[in-house]
Amino acid sequence: MSGVGIDAPGSTQLFIGNEAIARGALEAGIGLASAYPGTPSTEIMESLISVAKEKNFYAEWSINEKVALEVAAGASFAGIRAITSMKQNGVNVVFDFLANIVMSGIGAGLILVSCDDPSAISSSNEQDTRHIAKWLDIPLLEPGTFQEAKDMTKWAFDLAEELNSICMIRSVTRIAHARGNVTLGELPKKEQKAHFDSICPVVPTLPKFIPYPSAWLHSQLHAKLDKARELFESSPFNWYTGPEEAELLLITCGSCWLYSLEAVNALKLESKVGILKLGTIWPLPQKLIETHLGKSQKILMVEEIDPFLEGSIKELVADLPPDSPHPRFYGKHSGHINAYGELNPDMVIEAIAKIMGLAYQPRDPEYSKKAEEVPITYMPPRIMTFCPGCPHRAAFWAIKNALRLDGRDGFVTGDIGCYSMAIGPAGFFQERTMYCMGAGAGVANGLGKLGQFGFNQPVLAVCGDSTFFHATIPALINGIYNQSNFTLIILDNNATAMTGFQPHPGTGVTGMGETTRAVDMEALCHSLGVQVEVCDPFDLENTTATLLKALAQDGGPRVVIMRRECELVRARRDKKPLYKVHVDPDKCLGEACGCDRLCTRVFGCQGMVWDSESGKANIDETICTSCGVCADICPQGAIIREAV
């Protein structure tokens, strides 16, 4: 439904922040876009790639974020504007290249977008990317509205070219994935020509795209930041709203701008509280901030996630002459705003009310009392789980059983993907470590070398197919080289499923939909000299047996590929179920069985429900995808799987 390519300047669309960023890139005339999917950033590239052919530019899903940025840099070096987008963890993956390219400068505009995930709603951490921009001396912008997400992205390319520096845009989940009004601008129509020219315009004998001589370039970089600061002083992305003299001044950025505005309105403090909204986050517009610091004796910093503005503005205040205003700061250090997790209007209302000594009542206390009296048992929590019909549920069922049968206290090290949910009941708590992409295999490498210390627990590392290509291959090769004792399980569902089924090097299709040579992961593993077994996780018996065989081996790593296409992808394509599945009420013994509701309580597929009236298991046909795996777990054979 994305309409990012629509050629209707002046029309208003309802875009998510990610679409607005994509539209900004189109209006800036990009020639190349590259990304690795990651929530909440994915739709930037999804939107761009969906119009790439029509708009005559190149877009790709890259193998990982580092390669994605290098791909974009290649285009920039040849005079073609390029953008790369990623989630916050991805910025760690590109860090090495980023720390170097910032030293050299660029060709055409080059933009890195990081979508941070406050509260880690879809992440393993909630790191704040703004620090990386400050650390590496990279100019960084952060939109506070959907319109701004578009306008800022478009302008960022001009800025990057004017400064001769890569620039960053930081967005957060509630911009990236929220939706609002965006009025479109013109799409450029001009032809572009790529040519690589490495002559430095300042000193022709110096290389243009090499960070050398580093110390001199570092000083040049500081000059670029000074220039950026000067430009930011009058940027339309920074503004103030409120009285000339305020009892309290809020300084905010990003998603917190709208929370701040709503909080001030909800407390009816428009005539007493001012808001300075910043969009140019690094370097900070020093003079602008100094001017506004004089507006109030009290400053409340409202930002997600870390106290970045808070710390940076305090640094700035420390350098002011002694007779300058030194207001009192409230925020994360004072405990008025959380220094973790995402914020919302309620939290900002509470902070302001506390500072101003006001009471706030969002609704009638009688109603609140009635609402609070609703028994908690009326609202059972819904845990994170695999989709109905997900091959991972079957895979972890087999893993759990194989480890139990093996009996040596073996365990699973894992990483990032749908299968991360195996840290909880969805995967029967099998995944015991979960860090970053590829870390399951990396950690297994170390565990697999502890034999001399009496370590004899079998180690199973799991990764997904996309993760295998992204970051697991070096860990596998390391294990082969150093002969570490572990089994690598590749949960191959033929898609980057967690982020929306993007293709990857193993799928044989490019992001733009062209057929390409699929990288054969079995052949790749064979070429490394490791033993590879392939099984179908829906065949629980064979999968368990395959795992037991791998567990029984010693020496270097061996690979088990559990191959079964993501059910959502299959169902979308085939539009029919694999089987017909139902519970035979005569065979299901209910509570009398002794299995203690193995199907609904332990296997936990949402399609299986406990019918408290009949005291037996049942299948909710509106949820069940008829994968039929549950037929093999029922001790009574009461779940019937029939061919369709």
Partner: protein, 199 residues
Amino acid sequence: MKTLTKDPLNLIIAGVGGQGNVVISLLIGKAFIREGYFVTIGETYGASQRSGSVMSHLRISRETEYSPFIPSGRADIILGMEPVETLRILQQFGNSDVITIANSRLIHAAGMEYPSLDKIVEAIEGLSAKSWLINATDEAVKLGDPIFANMILIGALVGSGIFPIDSKSMELVLRESFPGEKLETNMVAFNKGMELVVQ
């Protein structure tokens, strides 16, 4: 054109991941954009999409842009796609004026026992100034796919008369959004929803 009874109008769509929250909120949002409103939609994305509790917050205003979070206790209308999820939202965002339209068909939480539906409905009615409970899923299954429950609920929302969008405006958005044969069944579902609240 109808006018907003309150500005901003705060609507929450509550459901279970996979029921189509995102589609509903986008269709409703588009109807308001067509009529020149400011619309902000906040969605639950990510891990909780996999059969977790999900909600979409819609803020509709003539005057300005609002944040994608409705403050606690400040919902005006709740469109519930599942009873327990409707109650969960009412408890946090409801108030003495809130109006609720909800699907009465339950979806079990994996591994949990579902509470008594009668008690859930009673609690929903007790926390709403006005409420409609309709079995949208059963009606949708009659149309061939439980997913049409979301179009039936949009129909109910428009048909209830509490919403500042009329059926003509909504129909225009549906025509834009669904190609060819898909449009027909979606229109049937939409009209069914309109009927269900009128009865």
